[in-house]
Amino acid sequence: MRKKVIEVSNLTKKFGNFTAVDHITFDVDEGEIFGFLGANGAGKTTAMQMLCGISMPTAGEGRVAGYDIIKENELIKRNIGYMSQKFSLYEDLKVWENIRLFGGIYGLSEKEIADKTDELLKRLDFEQERDTLVKYLPLGWKQKLAFSVAIFHEPKIVFLDEPTGGVDPAMRRQFWEMIYDAADRGITVFVTTHYMDEAEYCNRVSIMVDGHIEALDSPAALRQQFNTDSMDEVFRKLARKAERF
């Protein structure tokens, strides 16, 4: 039995009368690549923000990286990385300055930051962009940088909110290679996406509809369950039930 790094039960978030996330219950194993799927507005981002400790759940409970999501949210933050849907590194800082800032915030020493920055830029083949202001980078490169910054401090779990939105296919492939690389190093990956080919890359996927989790299993098992040969079809069958929007 593998260790669970995320366990939640009946997690709920309401904004006034609107229930964005409605009693979701699931768990994620250590080292897993977990795909968190759902149509636009299904509540994926809200759920993810509750797990990351930046959104207070209305009801329910859960543990992330061994800490309680209600009471120990600041301790969770030491052990996770997060890449938001909207690019949110500092555009007016240079590439190395962004890396240095977040390295410093996570408590890395000057020496560690300097060594790891060199190593990271080399691995990304990014050395000539070290002194470029982030706002001048093309989107694909920004996303790669944001992902690298999110796992710079070697977290237990990394949360990726639509990391490949708007990125070209070649760059998406490279991006998924980076994800696999991180998973190989033992980092649990929690990722949302709208690309069903990417869902196939995940160990398990959940599909959210109107704030509920309607399906949760490995891609192969889901295809079998819905009697089809593509994840696309699985998604469409489930999303058709949506009443919201």
Partner: protein, 378 residues
Amino acid sequence: MKIIKFLIEKEFKQMFRNPLIPRMIVMYPIMVLLVFPWAVSFEVKNIKIDVVDHGKSVYSKRLIDKMAASKYFILHDTPPDYKSAMFNMENGDTDMIVEIPATFDKDIVKDKNSKVRVAVNSVNGTQGLLGSNYIMQIVNDFSSELRAELINTLPPQQRASLMSIPQVDIIPKYKYNPGLDYKNFMIPGFMVLLLTLICGILPALNIVMEKESGTINQINVTPVNRIAFILAKLIPFWIVGLVVMIISVFTAYLLYGLWPTGSILAVLISAVVFILSISGFGLIISNYSETLQQASFLVMFFILILILLGGMFTPVSGMPSWAQLIAAINPFSYLTETLRMIYLNGSTLADVSGKLLAMALIALFLNGWAVLSYKKRG
């Protein structure tokens, strides 16, 4: 707390990469101190005056000359009657009417007593009050002159008996600002205004800009401590404010020869305490705002209150008690008073320590609030 170094470094990099802010820090104090002390003044000069002289006598001529010679008055017209003078005032051509009766000379010589009528346009209360005061002063001077002349014409015996009548004169001695120069009074106020605008508005726009660009989310998912985050926002403005203050002090000296008669150290220390409080206030606004528009509207609104109730333009002691209550928690009014004390009265650090303590408490309160209102979880 080690991480605060990284955060401050980031704030400074962003500030100096902004095309406007570094220039503003240098140019703003110079421009404000160069222009406003000349224009914003309560001195009432060049009051236009109409004299209706019914007697056209020797004495009335002397009185009119005396008025026209004063730097406060410009003799606008000498209409034949009060009605046409009033017409001028209603048209806004003149501010004041002095009517001298036909019997002016006769009254003075015979009854030793005469009256002059003065009418003042008091739409602008300050001008009305000061104008009529100046006129009264001139008329009083004139009557003293006349009395001295008349006494001299009397036989010696009578003169002695008149001289023995006691007479009280008030001779004011203007302390601390002997030239009654409004610039000396206003410049310390403008320094406070500058610090308020720069160190109040910039922080108010700062955190909300991170909200709009989304970078605050990336910060909120890190284990960054709230106190460290707020301090890292505060300290750069603290340094910027100190630079603004130093530039202001030297600009005031170079342009107006105004240097604190008290301790220069006290000037800088009180500025530093003030900056902390006003920046903390800006950060609170930023924390409560969701958009840049909200933040700028709110900060303008509150800064206007701080300034108008801060005793820069009108003395706090003349305000109603509710406004005085606000002044008691208004850092603006503390620094305005402190700087005036140090600049004009020659106060030392010890003299202003009470006000410094009050400002420090306000700063502590506001910054504590700023930390608490910064929510990492929505």
